[in-house]
Symmetry: C2
């Protein structure tokens, strides 16, 4: 088995790392349950080795060597995922993309920028900003996540309502397939040339290939950026306001509605108790933004919204990426996580009510709340947050799983989609069949078997284990 | 072999048709070369049988029976495709979706409408218009093509610059897989739940499954719809104007720029000789349209555009779906076709120049022209038209192939994408490798083998024959 490490060393030299510190730093992602398991002293073990690839060919060699040696390979970007898509085993090789860094090429004329996959999101965004451009993708993890990870997890950012999710921002990909061959999709704005192969890898979570380059279709930095806010007597009234805004064709990049609990928790200075705060950010040509602000104000008022002090938008912008550490909360006896789902408009009131009600039945529950942060013509997402007090640490995993089970089961029962933008990983894999059906799971298994017949790429992720769940 | 027909009849009764007239009407699509072959008396033969499915279960049964009997199945919608994706063989069974017709459900609240796949595009659009809604997809074939065909061919419509192509309009699909199992994607506005399985079938051209239902995410009919036009001294100046309009974030649904030849051919009354006409249609809230019209006028003028009489937009709207019959032209000794490709902005001037120049070397060429009709942040498409006079009818296929080869080769040499919205079919399959590379073709073959191990679904289409081309 250590033949693998020797073979990797022979081919890749010092890009193969086995020092305990490096191995320990590549055990897992930011899954809340993995944090709990760490606290309980039974966290994921270190992998056998970490390969820090510096080129596409390094990635290809790693995959070929591991295939020949029948070793599992776990692609690893920023490890900021929260669904357990990275969890090492003692036999596995972790393949870090963080050495694949930086800009490959940028065209202001074409509004395109190609980055190596291990480039941190914030670095990529800052690079294109030097040229007055923006990727426009703002996941909360932007300072930690890689552009390749954005693609592999099928991410959405905070500005998605106007600018789209990752599938709307990526022009082309380079991907190393499990056999070491390299797929490059053409840098063309649109094609009808068979299935869109980029889409096979968006959301593949490291199970079908390793993304090595990402080319974005950019936007110029907006001429104007204007905040707006209002509050509603009921969360559902705010949802209805957003529905009408989407329906009319307005597309502010940021459209976030918090339920009364979250509005008080984060925006008490700007939102009366018991009301739900809606914050928006409009961007674009100044004249278009002006029209949009006026139209949205009228639509919000018609749905019962009262104008709120726009300072709350600045507050959100300033604090939007601060998240408390799971470890700190766990140590205080709290089990906390967020779960995002999506649904068509008709299901939204029931979905919100059912999930929060079901969570409130979990023993020790302190809070079950939600906001919506990504809206579309035909529906929206919910981003639920739960917090449970658990006296005995040993009971934390069970409490965690109970909250997830209740949220997933209530979402499925309501007819909603089980995952809006965090992905499947390990935490949702048993509900994948509810999302895409038996035929969908079978199709994904077929695809996996065709590309990775030995099942070596990130095993255990995305697809549920075979057999009854 | 007639066991297949007997087995189909036993299961499907009068949905199985073998009368000569029906068989003759299901031989092929609207590929120009198939028309020429018909004229030459060596057109595609009739299939063995036509199954006119009336339900998803009819489709599943047909696929199961044909798989058991090892018979090729050719899915058949409106047959308005122009790339040879439908071409019967004497042993094949044609599976028509035209009996799968009509609205399944419509939700004004969600802006969604689900249609059976064989519904004609125009019927679907007219149905949602009764409720003040629009699909917003206007391929030239809208009166002939089916909504399932739109998905299978990965179509774009004339309003795509503002409203998107089929991948931006479809919310959910029902597809019967080659083994007869039924895949239903969830009706959710967005998901990060593995690869987007809808995308496997968009552009699959009948080779991976049979689409049986299509759910669209709709828009309300626009409050305002305003035409605009200008003309430019050079085609490239007009391209540059469009680039700047896209870059600034304006999205008129219709943005069409004709080269000097096409401007004279179609719009002589509104465009001075030698100049290139740009026509636009703006839609949306009246106030937003007003802003857009003013901004676009300024951008066009800055790029050298002179305002043109907006009546030309009305002329286009009126005549946009009239096309001359290939047969009539062939009988006059003319070989004519259109070829659409796409590229990033930097390649556009060279691509246009190279393709039209290369086509002018074809003996007997009468015309090589182009317009652009679908634009994006990072590039645009070209829609080339060629006409060749061929004295001997027997030489028509060679002249046809010469024009295609020159266009495809010049596009590939320029670095452009080989297909914007008509698909691959048979006419482009030998260039698919230039679009997606060896690894991409291998991936598609893997996918095909996994879903359709006996290669029975629409054989000969999309994928190039194995071996060197």
């Amino acid at each position: 088995m250590s033949d693998i490490v020797a073979a990797l060393r022979a081919a890749l030299g010092d890009r193969v790392l086995t020092d305990p510190e490096t191995l320990a730093a590549h055990r897992r992602d930011y899954w809340a349950l993995a944090e709990i398991h760490d606290l309980l002293g039974r966290g994921a073990p270190p992998p056998r080795a970490v390969v820090r690839a510096r080129s596409t060919e390094d990635v290809a060699q790693t995959l070929r060597i591991c295939r020949a040696g029948h070793a599992a390979v776990i692609p690893f970007g920023g490890a900021s995922g929260v669904c357990g898509a990275i969890e090492a085993t003692p036999e596995s090789v972790v393949l870090s993309t963080r050495g694949l860094e930086g800009l490959v090429r940028l065209s202001d004329h074409n509004l395109t920028a190609c980055f190596r996959a291990g480039t941190l999101g914030i670095d990529a965004e800052e690079r294109v900003r030097q040229d007055g451009l923006t990727i426009g993708h703002w996941p909360q993890s932007v300072a930690l996540s890689t552009v390749g990870g954005w693609v592999a997890t099928r991410a959405s950012g905070q500005y998605s309502t106007g600018y789209g999710s990752i599938e709307d921002l990526v022009l082309a990909l380079e991907v190393v397939l499990p056999d070491g061959s390299v797929l490059r999709t053409r840098e063309t704005p649109r094609a009808a040339a068979g299935p869109d192969l980029r889409q096979v890898f968006m959301g593949s979570e490291g199970t079908l290939g390793v993304i090595t380059e990402v080319t974005f279709s950019l936007r110029p930095l907006p001429e104007a950026s204007v905040g707006q806010a209002s509050h509603f007597a009921a969360f559902d009234d705010g949802i209805e306001a957003i529905r009408r805004i989407m329906r009319a064709g307005w597309r502010p990049p940021v459209v976030r509605l918090y339920d009364a609990l979250e509005s008080q928790r984060t925006f008490a200075a700007w939102c009366p108790a018991g009301r739900s705060l809606l914050i928006l950010l409009h961007e674009g040509p100044a004249s278009a933004v002006k029209e949009e602000v006026e139209a949205v104000a009228a639509l919000s008022a018609a749905a019962g919204g009262d104008e709120a002090d726009v300072a709350c938008v600045g507050h959100w912008l300033e604090h939007r990426n601060s998240v408390p550490s799971f470890r700190e909360l766990n140590e205080q006896g709290l089990v906390v996580d967020t779960i995002e789902v999506a649904c068509t408009w008709d299901l939204a009131p029931r979905l919100y009510a059912d999930v929060t009600r079901s969570l409130r039945h979990v023993p020790g529950i302190l809070m079950a709340s939600a906001h919506t942060s990504h809206s579309y013509r035909s529906g929206t997402n919910f981003y639920f947050t739960f917090a449970v007090r658990v006296e005995e640490r040993e009971r934390m995993p069970a409490a965690y799983r109970a909250c997830w089970e209740r949220t997933m089961n209530a979402s499925v029962a309501a007819g909603a989609g089980i995952a809006h933008h965090h992905g499947i990983g390990r935490v949702r894999r048993n509900w994948l069949v509810d999302e895409i059906g038996d035929a969908g799971v079978a199709l994904l298994r077929d695809l996996k078997r065709a590309l990775d017949p030995d099942g070596l790429l990130n095993p255990g992720v995305l697809l549920p284990p075979p057999g009854p769940r």
